[in-house]
């Protein structure tokens, strides 16, 4: 005889079911959704979940990438293979173009990460997107822990953390006024480790920079950065070759790597399981500007 115990899902299956439900809700209720794609492991898991949600039909929305101009070539290569596999349209909103067109201003001090905000909002506005999926997880950062699955944005793209819609059961409220849009986070309840376990169980292709490799790097502000033409060395900085890997895939001028021998998914999971630093604390320069850096960017419309 079967018992209730036979009808339990594993935590990964339950997370997957919840995320697929969210993808389908958005497809059913919003006029013009889009998947924001950063190239990182979370975005790739999102593409996989979207693929599963609509199979055997195609994913019914395009993929939007905000290109800082400083992206890792390995990440762009993976992006292209994924978009082809999905058969989706790829829209690239370039920070470079946004600067040229006067949409955002490069004062030489603002990071490309911050310039992504205006570039993204412009792309959402120009294309008339009413819902934009993001790969944000609540475990990433304490401001994110407060974010709803459906995160309402006003006509300026702003997030108002004090005035969020309560979210009950799995009943998401997708009501919008003209000019407003929704950010939707299907991975809200996933943790970094869940993402890795899922990548392993699904055998999902991720950019090679996540695996240990030899790379020419230098140290800046306590982080190991990749040598590149976009990142001129400052006085006293020396490049040397080390065995490293990345824990996140952002702007290569700000995203640090860690020394690691982990060259398989199993080894990465082992390493993450005993890591003492968060992925952002370890390797993201953009979160170090102030204690509320993420919250402030999100209020302005960051993903």
């Amino acid at each position: 005889m079967t018992t209730h115990q036979d009808y339990r899902l594993s935590h990964l299956d339950e997370l997957e079911a919840e995320s697929i439900h969210i993808f389908r809700e958005v497809a059913a209720e919003f006029e013009k959704p889009v998947i924001m794609f950063s190239g990182g492991k979370d975005s790739i898991v999102m593409l996989r979940l979207a693929q599963k949600a609509f199979y055997p039909a195609k994913v019914p929305f395009p993929v939007l990438q905000v290109d800082t101009g400083y992206d890792f070539p390995e990440v762009l290569a993976t992006r292209d293979r994924w978009v082809e596999a999905l058969g989706s349209q790829l829209i690239v909103a370039s920070v470079e173009d946004a600067i040229r067109d006067g949409v955002v201003t490069d004062d030489g001090k603002t990071s490309r990460n911050r310039l992504q905000i205006g570039t993204l909002l412009n792309a959402i506005d120009e294309n008339g997107f009413t819902a934009a999926f993001g790969g944000g997880r609540r475990d990433e950062e304490k401001a994110r822990a407060k974010e709803r699955v459906y995160s309402h944005r006003d006509e300026f793209g702003q997030w108002d953390p004090k005035n969020q819609r309560p979210e009950l059961w799995s009943l998401y409220n997708g009501q919008l006024h003209e000019g407003e849009h929704m950010r939707v986070f299907p991975l809200s309840n996933w943790t970094e480790l869940d993402i890795w376990h899922y990548i392993r169980s699904e055998q999902i292709e991720i950019p090679s920079i996540y695996f240990s490799h030899r790379r020419r790097v230098f140290e800046r502000d306590g982080m190991l950065l990749s040598e590149s033409e976009y990142n001129p060395l400052r006085e006293g900085e020396v490049v040397d070759e080390r065995t490293v890997r990345f824990r996140t895939a952002g702007d290569l001028t700000l995203t640090g790597c860690v020394e690691s021998e982990a060259d398989t998914l199993d080894a990465i999971i082992d390493e993450i399981s005993i890591a003492k630093l968060t992925e952002r604390g370890a390797t993201r320069g953009d979160d170090k500007f102030s204690e509320a850096a993420m919250e402030d960017r999100k209020k302005l419309g960051y993903f």
Binding site: Y55, P56, K162, W169, A292
Partner: protein, 413 residues
């Protein structure tokens, strides 16, 4: 490994943040860089201790004012289970936050301060968790270190709570004496309380049986999205995508599509590119039917002899969540499973006092954070079950037509 979702409840100074901080720390969900940040903020505020609540108060205005504004979700895992904590603030927007956190929870964790015993708030927490049919309740009697780990103090609170909860719908209750600050009975059993023979809090969280909490009797499949690829390979494919809300669906089963009433059989169940034999809650699957019947989003697939009630008249307990009161004749939108319909308030039958459980039948409206029994009439039929039977088909949210905001939550009586 499975997953347990729990909501915390407690008043302002009962040590809730400290307990959550400790659970996260002891399960290694807090990293060194986060700890350093909290330590340095504590120091700059002039504290001579590390304020663990800084882990959970994520927003600038919360840190400035030292208050928690809204529900936040926290995550940790042990080798046995993954946990999602709905961390609900104690004092602001009290009922609304509790109801939000409790709506998805398998367990409610109520904290009381051993020095104060049961307060009005602790009773309210228990009432709300019982109204929301949270299947398991844990009462953590905290700050036992401040009452010399006294067994008498604990027993008195225990007896009082058991007596009180017997009036409520609480099926599974565990009461644990702890010190969140010192870690007694949080992860390991405390040597300071040899008289206590029950589990530590962590052991209980890891082992409480939640397998039987889901409804496997009544087949309920709200159709969410119709999948029609129109590709060469899948030219005639027509699948109904959704998340199973109840029961077990099997290939070959005879089913009925509500509200149209057409009967057919399940031709197959797909989960991505694999066909599976059966589907159960909370799986997201795609169901194919034998006959080419007209099925769309908002319909529900059930069994001929076990249908949901299709009706335009809703009778529900409503928690009101906004400053403008709910009144009779008010026009609203209701989202129930995959339907959004227009509705009107027919009658406010009573307002429930969550302290005394008194039903105030004179009430003419429901104010912010009030709970009451309300009748609505909808423009189209919804397929309902009583909330006590199914938390998915028995629940709905109320949306303000003008602002688009979520203004209320309802459970079908």
């Amino acid at each position: 490994m499975d997953m347990l979702r729990f909501a915390t409840a407690g008043s302002v100074d009962d040590g809730k943040s400290t307990l959550i901080g400790r659970l996260l720390m002891d399960s290694k969900a807090i990293f060194e860089d986060q700890l350093e940040q909290v330590e340095s903020t504590s120091k700059s505020k002039g504290f001579d201790y590390t304020d663990l609540s800084l882990f959970t108060d994520g927003l600038r205005s919360e840190r400035e004012q030292g208050i928690t504004i809204d529900v936040a979700y926290r995550y940790f895992a042990t080798p046995r289970r993954k946990f999602i904590i709905a961390d609900t603030p104690g004092h602001v927007q009290y009922t609304r936050n509790m109801v939000t956190g409790a709506s998805t929870s398998d367990m409610g964790l109520v904290l009381v301060d051993a020095r104060n015993g049961l307060t009005e708030q602790s009773r309210r927490h228990a009432v709300l968790l019982s109204l929301l049919r949270v299947p398991h309740i844990t009462l953590a009697v905290n700050k036992m270190d401040l009452v010399d780990f006294s067994e008498d103090v604990f027993r008195k609170i225990q007896e009082e709570f058991v007596a009180f909860s017997s009036k409520l719908e609480i099926n599974d209750l565990e009461i644990i004496p702890i010190s969140a600050l010192q870690g007694d009975n949080v992860v390991t059993r405390s040597e300071n309380m040899p008289w206590y023979e029950g589990p530590s809090l962590m052991y209980h969280l890891e082992n409480v049986q939640i397998a039987a909490d889901r409804d496997l009797r009544d087949v309920r499949f709200p159709v969410q999205y119709v999948i029609r690829p129109h590709s060469d390979e899948f030219h005639d494919y027509r699948g109904y995508a959704g998340q199973v809300a109840g029961g077990i669906l099997k290939k070959g089963d005879e089913v009925i599509v509500q509200p149209s009433g057409m009967t057919t059989r399940i031709a197959g169940i797909d989960r991505f590119d694999q066909e599976i034999d059966e589907a159960f809650p909370p799986m997201s699957v795609t169901v194919r039917l034998e006959d080419d019947v007209d099925v769309s989003r908002g319909d529900m697939i059930t069994r001929v002899n076990n249908q949901a009630e299709a009706t335009q008249d809703l009778d529900a307990l409503v928690t009101w969540m906004t400053t403008t009161p709910l009144k009779p004749k008010q026009k609203l939108k209701i989202k129930h499973t995959t339907n959004v319909v227009r509705a009107v308030t027919k009658e406010i039958q009573y307002q429930l006092d969550v302290n005394s459980l008194h039903r105030n039948q004179e009430a003419e409206e429901l104010k912010l954070n009030e709970i009451g029994r309300v009748k609505f009439r909808t423009t189209q039929p919804l397929m309902l079950d009583a909330y006590e039977r199914n938390r998915v088909t028995g629940s709905f949210v109320i949306i303000d037509e003008a602002t688009g905001n979520t203004v209320g939550a309802g459970t079908i009586v």
